[in-house]
């Protein structure tokens, strides 16, 4: 801890930390309070008298009701969940296999393949979305969940592979060799010995991939067109704004409800998420 007087602790620790917490969390508080606030209170000019923006005494569920009755919000939630789970599963299988091959097997071009996958890890979605939209249309995948389930792995697999390589490298070679001396094939040794040891890594990669695909926006915006097919971020953006009119109540309620699944998933696996995040940077 900080040496010295109590005031130093306040000045150099508590006050800065409180500043950070308010800065980082206030938008979420604002999201919550707006979701439950009646329209009459919502649209009062910022300088009107007796206006208390930070609390409401008349909470309402109208905005949430509007979302589920007047929009396809329920389908958007389902679409996003389905797409995120499927693309995470595909990416985990590919990433675990590729990570195993690149970290524990020796074969020609292993180094350059590893570098290649690392480079694709750094390719942002905004670089390729226009040609990719053409390709999706040519494959007749446009406006289906498969257009996203198949393209999300392009930014999830490299990350999963990278993370899994780190975990696999830490598993001692002897463990695998013992199994092979006992008669296990390479495949069996991988499935029954090495992969179970790396389960924390798989969980980290999985939770990280899930949040990333829940967050993805531009591919979903470009590839999906009919309202029933959209994901939460795209649906909220395109269906809750009419021209210049923003329905702020339902918008914030949609943002809140659309954040809850990913926040819940995150809260169960905070430690795995953090090690995935830091692992993805350190490699």
């Amino acid at each position: 801890m900080i040496e010295g007087a109590l005031w130093r602790k306040w000045v150099f620790f508590y006050i800065p930390l409180a500043f950070f917490l308010v800065f980082l969390l206030f938008p979420f508080y604002w999201m919550v309070i707006t979701s439950f606030r009646p329209d009459g209170e919502l649209y009062r000019p910022w300088n009107s008298v007796n206006y208390n923006p930070f609390w409401t005494w008349k909470p309402t569920l109208d905005h949430i009701r509007y979302l589920f009755e007047e929009t396809l919000f329920a389908s958007w939630l389902w679409n996003t969940t389905f797409i995120a789970l499927m693309s995470t599963a595909i990416s985990l299988v590919c990433g675990v296999f590729a990570g195993y091959a690149l970290s524990r097997l020796s074969f020609p071009f292993a180094g350059s393949l590893g570098t290649g996958i690392f480079i694709t890890y750094l390719v942002p979605q905004t670089l390729l979305f226009i040609p990719l939209a053409e390709i999706i249309r040519n494959y007749h995948l446009g406006d289906t969940p498969w257009s996203l389930i198949l393209t999300y792995p392009t930014f999830l697999i490299p990350f999963c592979t990278w993370l899994m390589m780190g975990y696999f490298k830490a598993v001692p070679k002897e463990l695998e060799e013992c199994a092979r001396i006992d008669g296990a094939s390479r495949w069996q040794a991988m499935i029954h010995i090495v992969i179970p040891v790396a389960i924390p890594g798989i969980l980290s990669a999985g939770i990280f991939a899930f949040t990333l695909s829940w967050n993805e926006f531009i591919y979903a915006l470009v590839f999906l067109s009919s309202p029933g097919q959209k994901t939460v971020p795209v649906g909220v953006t395109s269906e809750l704004i009419r021209g210049d009119v923003f329905f702020w109540g339902p918008l914030m309620a949609g943002a809140l409800l659309g954040s809850i699944p990913v926040a819940v998933a995150y809260s169960f696996f905070v430690e795995h998420y953090v090690s995935g995040l830091t692992g993805s940077v350190k490699g």
Partner: protein, 310 residues
């Protein structure tokens, strides 16, 4: 040297051909890598080639184009909105990176102490990073609303302003607004990554420096910072790539407005390529990002290799 699987048990079934094939490291590696290579090839390498082909033709939606050479690049080069977008992208990336690094490092140092509720604090701090960006950006847009802005209310009641600030209506203020949102979203990533880096530095080094009479600032500059540099480099380069190619925050906050003053590469490419349907020109704008991204990736690869060799 592959260890041959000699079965000592008589009741094991004889190895099937598939199994024997997979005993060869090269075949197994290939089989394991096929799904990854197929997906990355189909949806990264192929679109990249298609993108280049698209950028040298004059295709529109539904109209296959003719080869036009570098006409699209020439056209965007003479486009004043594109030039603004280039300037904005560099400004946006530069300013946000400085702030994210400074604030992230500060937050990491705060979190690197023992205090009650540390785990919970850390979990909450990451929220801006994990909540879908589009959704949290809407909360910011609502906070910056010209008529109902809570920030204006707050500043007015603190006596900082006397009339409303039209955050998203003025080009400079709009740029400042999107920079604030990007910093807000990026600080947790910097803080948590740098915290992981800080935790690998042995406290004894700092203690030894303290015994030798080093002031806190000197301890940071001569002990902590050099040891943290490798992690910092990777985090910064990573963040630069993401910020340079950012789309979501600007798309939601301003849509490139007012009067096309806040476009970045990605939002302008979207507006031209998807909005107006000029596919080739949009692809050219997107690809114009490539040389800079490529440079950053090369720096990162060289840096990682250097660190690994050491």
């Amino acid at each position: 040297m592959a260890v041959t699987a000699l079965s000592t048990y008589g009741d094991l079934p004889p190895a099937r051909p598939r199994r024997r094939l997979f005993e060869d490291e090269r075949w197994l590696a290939m089989a394991l890598l096929v799904p990854t290579i197929v997906l990355l090839g189909l949806f990264i390498a192929y679109p990249f080639v298609r993108g280049i082909l698209l950028a040298v033709t004059d295709s529109r939606v539904g109209v296959p184009g003719q080869f036009v050479g570098f006409a699209n690049f020439e056209k965007i080069w003479n486009d004043s909105i594109f030039r603004t977008a280039v300037y904005n992208t560099f400004l946006y990336t530069g300013v946000t990176t400085v702030f994210k690094l400074a604030l992230g490092l500060w937050l990491a140092m705060l979190l690197n102490r023992n205090f009650r509720g540390k785990a919970l604090t850390r979990a909450f701090i990451l929220l801006p990073f994990i909540i879908p960006t589009v959704l949290s950006t809407f909360a910011w847009k609502w906070m910056f609303d010209p008529t109902f802005s809570v920030l204006n209310w707050l500043m007015y009641h603190l006596g900082l302003i006397s009339s409303r600030i039209n955050w998203l209506g003025d080009p400079d203020l709009a740029m400042i607004s999107i920079i604030i949102v990007n910093v807000w979203r990026g600080v947790p990533f910097f803080a948590i990554s740098l915290l992981a880096g800080l935790q690998t530095i042995s406290p004894e080094l700092n203690e030894a420096a303290a015994i030798d009479g080093a002031r806190p600032w000197q301890r940071f500059w001569y002990v902590t910072w050099p040891l943290l540099l490798p992690v910092t480099m990777v985090v910064v380069l990573f963040s630069v790539i993401q910020t340079f190619a950012d789309f979501q925050i600007v798309y939601v906050m301003t849509g490139g407005g007012p009067a096309n003053a806040t476009h970045l590469f990605a939002t302008y490419a979207y507006q031209i390529g998807i909005g107006t349907g000029l596919l080739s020109e949009g692809a050219a704008i997107s690809l114009a990002m490539f040389p800079i991204l490529f440079l950053v990736v090369i720096i990162q690869l060289l840096y990682i290799r250097r660190v690994e060799v050491r």
